[in-house]
């Protein structure tokens, strides 16, 4: 039988295995679509972050005489809004709040929902029933209604709308996490890990998490666009951002009345929401195939 000789064994270098995430990183860099999306997102994030230093017009300074200028007007490359404020400046400044409101609730919900779903799926039994039936209660309400109800109860404000959106997304992510976990938990390698004497937390950390994270991650990034649109709805009802604060959802709502006069300018905040959402979706799709290292 081909049992290795001792000399060959000693010659084997003890190198550290290339980690899983390093492999995923190499694979995603090769994916053109993901890289373009990542580039656009970096551009939007960087401009939002660096807005005060970009030499933009004051996003709050309006003027009655230059309302609703068209795209391409000198000095106003993207026109002006219904109060005569520079759209370019407002769109870039608007990214600051919109991205925070879009992403933070999803991140919070991702952490909470994944933990709940993992425990529910791995432990099973009564704990699963307790967690999943509680989650179902939240499912009974349409997400918009739920966000409005929670926001209304907590009071207006950006922090409260982040909290309410987190609560809206936790059940959805929990449910995805639970179903993925249930699928992985019945596989033989989990049995083998139990057979080697590992406790439930070690098994969840080493063997479950890496296998369930991918699908949950992809689902969660898809929620970022929903989150931005829900946040816009809350702002519209006076529960989230308040005028004159620039925020894409709020801008979309206030420009709504101008859609027959200057539809292109009115559509711009929507274009931004669309661009960010589609980029997140395509990037998460790229991530999923990069994480599926079997191919």
């Amino acid at each position: 039988m081909a049992v290795m000789s001792d000399t060959a064994l000693q010659a084997a270098p003890i190198t550290k295995a290339r980690g899983y995430w390093a492999t995923v990183g190499r694979r995603i860099v090769r994916d053109k679509v993901s890289m373009v999306c990542a580039f656009i997102l970096v551009l939007i994030f960087a401009s939002a972050l660096l807005a005060p230093w970009l030499g933009l017009a004051d996003p709050y300074q309006g003027s009655m005489i230059r309302r609703l200028r068209h795209i391409g007007t000198p000095n106003y490359p993207l026109g002006t809004d219904e109060l005569g404020r520079d759209m370019l400046a407002r769109l870039i400044y608007g990214g600051r709040l919109s991205l925070i409101i879009g992403i933070l609730p999803v991140i919070f919900a991702f952490v909470i929902g994944t933990s709940l779903g993992l425990v529910a799926g791995y432990v099973g039994g009564r704990l699963n029933t307790a967690i999943m039936r509680t989650v179902d209660v939240f499912y009974a309400f349409p997400s918009v209604l739920l966000a409005i109800a929670i926001s209304g109860a907590l009071g207006a404000g950006i922090v409260n709308s982040i909290v309410s959106l987190t609560i809206v997304f936790v059940p959805q992510i929990t449910r995805v996490a639970e179903s993925v976990t249930t699928g992985v938990r019945n596989m033989d390698f989990v049995e083998a890990a139990r057979a080697s004497g590992a406790g439930p937390f070690t098994i969840m950390r080493v063997h479950m998490l890496g296998n369930v994270l991918g699908p949950i991650f992809v689902y969660a990034t898809g929620l970022i666009s929903v989150s931005m649109i829900l946040a816009a709805g809350l702002s519209f009802l006076g529960l989230g951002t308040k005028p004159p604060e620039p925020e894409w959802g709020l801008m979309l709502n206030t420009l709504r009345t101008a859609i027959y006069i200057n539809p292109w300018v009115a559509a711009l905040p929507g274009v931004m929401i669309f661009a960010v959402s589609i980029c997140f979706n395509l990037l998460s799709d790229g991530m999923r195939s990069a994480m599926d290292i079997r191919n």
């Binding site: 049992v3 290795m4 084997a12 004497g197 290292i293």
Partner: protein, 359 residues
């Protein structure tokens, strides 16, 4: 059987408490019934997956379990590993039961298992080195030492560590994966390894290589095997003693040569007769038994084989025959035809005629 582990840095084998005479594993009355949810109008039923199974495995021995699909072989393996709660019965490891004398962790150090599906039993997110090193780390070994041990074990199972250590399970073949699974089981320095259909999914040439590897490792590490398979040739090749299971019960057990040469239970006879012959002039033209095994939800009364047995008589349906000695070599069968004076027309009249009926 060598007591010295050839690996430089490894977990100590769980201590041999009982000495050579103490069986490594004693199983008494092992039973597992799965509830099947009945619908609104029918009562709950149970599948009797494993029913009152008893056997023992001596130190250094290889015991085979054979039987057709669904006879409870794999359930038995999972019960022995304590991966599943048993309904009744005792599992005694080296004279100790899990409890104050023997922790579950210690039992799992002393008893490891290789699963049938080589792919599903390896975490796709871990390199094979990480998979093998996981067990020792759980038992307190430092990361670097565990990885070193993993590489050494990969070498022992015939996989060059510098080529394979950093690969993922999907990057290697089925035979190589099963070698990794064997290395993973050995990483905890067990004394008993349960091989649940460990070679069944491999093609014949690879299967032979892995069987030889198992024989080598057994000698090198002083292992005891419980070898579960539906492949009779493989079981005969590797086992010292064999258990034949039918519908959750042991119907025959004994030294493998005795059972193969003089099968006493009609089910064993049928199983052996169903083996394909390599001689074209000696083909099996008619199936030795017909029909599917009965539904284990509602097993037949008495001897569970009587519905398919060519020699069944009224008494077979009345009461279950007990495992009884066929000879003095430890060959036992649960059949009235093997029990002297049982009332079956083919039963030996007295002890001197034992075994003659089976021929």
């Amino acid at each position: 059987m060598s007591e010295t582990n050839p690996l430089v840095d490894h977990l100590e084998q769980v201590e041999d408490v009982g000495g050579a005479a103490q069986p490594l594993l004693q199983v008494v009355g092992l039973t597992k019934h799965f509830p099947v949810r009945g619908d609104l109008f029918s009562p709950r039923k149970t599948v009797r997956a494993v029913d009152n199974v008893s056997f023992s495995i001596a130190k250094g021995e290889t015991v085979g379990i054979v039987g057709e699909s669904g006879c409870g072989k794999s359930t038995t393996a999972r019960l022995l590993m304590h991966l599943m709660k048993r309904d009744a019965g005792d599992i005694v490891y080296d004279g100790m039961q899990v409890g104050p004398a023997l922790s579950l962790r210690a039992l799992r150090r002393g008893m490891q298992m290789v699963f049938q599906d080589s792919y599903a039993s390896l975490n796709p997110r871990l390199t094979i080195e990480e998979s093998v090193a996981f067990g020792p780390k759980v038992h307190g070994m430092a990361d670097a030492a565990a990885r070193k041990l993993a590489r050494e074990l990969l070498g022992k199972v015939g996989l060059r560590p510098e080529t394979f250590a950093n690969r993922y399970p999907h990057e290697i073949s089925g035979g190589q994966r099963q070698r990794v699974n064997i290395a993973r089981a050995l990483a905890l320095s067990p004394r008993l390894v349960i091989l649940d259909e460990a070679v069944s999914a491999l093609d014949k040439s690879v299967e032979a290589q892995v069987l030889n590897l198992l024989a080598d490792l057994k000698r090198e590490f002083g292992l005891t095997y419980l070898f579960i398979s539906h492949d009779l040739n493989v079981v005969r090749y590797i086992s010292d003693r064999v258990l034949v299971m039918y519908l959750g019960e042991v119907v025959e057990l004994g030294p493998v040569d005795k059972v193969w040469d003089q099968p006493s239970h009609p089910y064993t006879q049928a199983l052996l007769a169903a083996m394909p012959s390599s001689d074209p002039d000696n083909r099996t033209e008619t199936p030795p038994i017909s029909g599917d095994p009965p539904n284990p939800i509602d097993p037949p009364s008495g001897c569970r084989f009587h519905t398919r047995c060519p020699f069944a008589e009224p008494l077979c349906a009345n009461a279950t025959p007990k495992l009884s000695d066929v000879d003095t070599m430890g060959h036992q069968a649960a059949c009235y035809m093997a029990i002297a004076g049982s009332g079956h027309s083919r039963a030996p009249a007295n002890k001197n005629e034992m075994g003659a009926t089976a021929a």
